[in-house]
């Protein structure tokens, strides 16, 4: 089991998956800052100014973390930031559900009529948190996209 969890290919694939998710989420948000600020406001946790600050910085951070994780640049810090972000998102969604807010998630699309928050979203986020924590505390931090596809030296010649 331990060798399975430290499998290079598996770690690489999970990084691509998690990084890809963050890139997709970041791209959607960055294209319409106002719409994302409105989504943040819907959670009724911060005021308009802080919502706009969040809408300015968060999509870039998601994009940077996603891309960095895929190419293997600063992987551990990306995994750390992703874990923090995912925990934050999950707490936000849970608090909104507890307060009875019927709002859209604002996670992957800013369309107010789609992707309403629910317990399913919390489960999804928990799954992503497990993956990011596993990557964060995993051993193979040196894998990167370039090394992965680099031709391995022929060890048969000694």
């Amino acid at each position: 089991m331990k060798s399975f969890l430290s499998n290079t290919i598996l770690i690489f694939l999970v990084r691509i998956f998690l990084g890809g998710l963050f890139v997709v989420a970041g791209l959607d948000k960055i294209t319409d800052t106002q719409a994302f600020a409105n989504s943040v406001l819907q959670y009724k946790v911060v005021g308009p100014t802080l919502a706009m600050c969040t809408a300015t910085i968060l999509p870039s951070l998601e994009l940077l973390c996603g891309l960095s994780l895929i190419i293997g640049f600063y992987p551990r810090s990306c995994e750390l930031l992703m874990t923090i972000m995912l925990i934050g998102f999950t707490i936000l969604v849970a608090s909104a559900l507890i307060r009875g807010l019927d709002i859209s998630c604002g996670c992957f699309t800013q369309d107010p009529n789609t992707s309403k928050i629910g317990y399913q979203k919390i489960l999804e986020n928990c799954g992503l948190i497990v993956l990011s924590v596993w990557l964060l505390f995993g051993q193979n931090q040196d894998i990167n996209l370039f090394q992965f596809f680099r031709k391995q030296p022929d060890k048969s010649i000694t």
Binding site: Q34, N38, K44, P48, M52, I57, L81
Partner: protein, 151 residues
């Protein structure tokens, strides 16, 4: 882990620079000419696009409220719209209270350059109206589409 925290800090700083630069170049967020978010209450207001405003107008199910000055209203307005200038809101309260609270109200002003429609919508919601939407394209978009107007 200390190294990771340091690198994370670098990523955050890079994201701040990237985010500010991007919104500055694309004139979004803090650098937008108009800022749709007016207040926390504005987050409850649905902004409707031109096509939806047109559909609602044709279905005759809503009351259109023109939040511009009376002079502008007299110069031309969406057919059937009533004029409640933002500054005159309090004087129109008696008139407004005759309208059912669940009536669909579409508020508009001049267009994307004005915010009085949002301020008006906030006031309407605070007065108990539950179905308030803002036609953000406003008079300019409506008039340029040659849709029914009156003077």
């Amino acid at each position: 882990m200390r190294q990771a925290i340091l690198e994370a800090f670098i990523l955050i700083v890079a994201a701040i620079i990237l985010g500010v630069a991007y919104t500055f170049i694309t004139k979004q967020g803090f650098f937008a000419k108009t800022q749709p978010i007016h207040s926390a209450a504005a987050s409850n207001i649905e902004m409707i696009p031109f096509a939806m405003a047109k559909d609602i107008f044709e279905s005759n199910k809503a009351l259109f409220i023109d939040s511009r000055h009376e002079f502008d209203y007299q110069s031309g307005h969406i057919r059937g719209a009533v004029n409640i200038a933002l500054k005159m809101f309090d004087t129109h309260l008696t008139r407004l209270n005759k309208i059912p609270k669940d009536k669909l109200l579409i508020v508009y002003c001049d267009g994307a350059e004005c915010n009085s429609s949002i301020e008006m919508a906030v006031k309407l919601i605070e007065s108990g109206f539950t179905n308030v939407k803002v036609f953000f394209g406003g008079w300019q978009e409506w008039n340029s589409a040659k849709l029914p107007v009156e003077k």
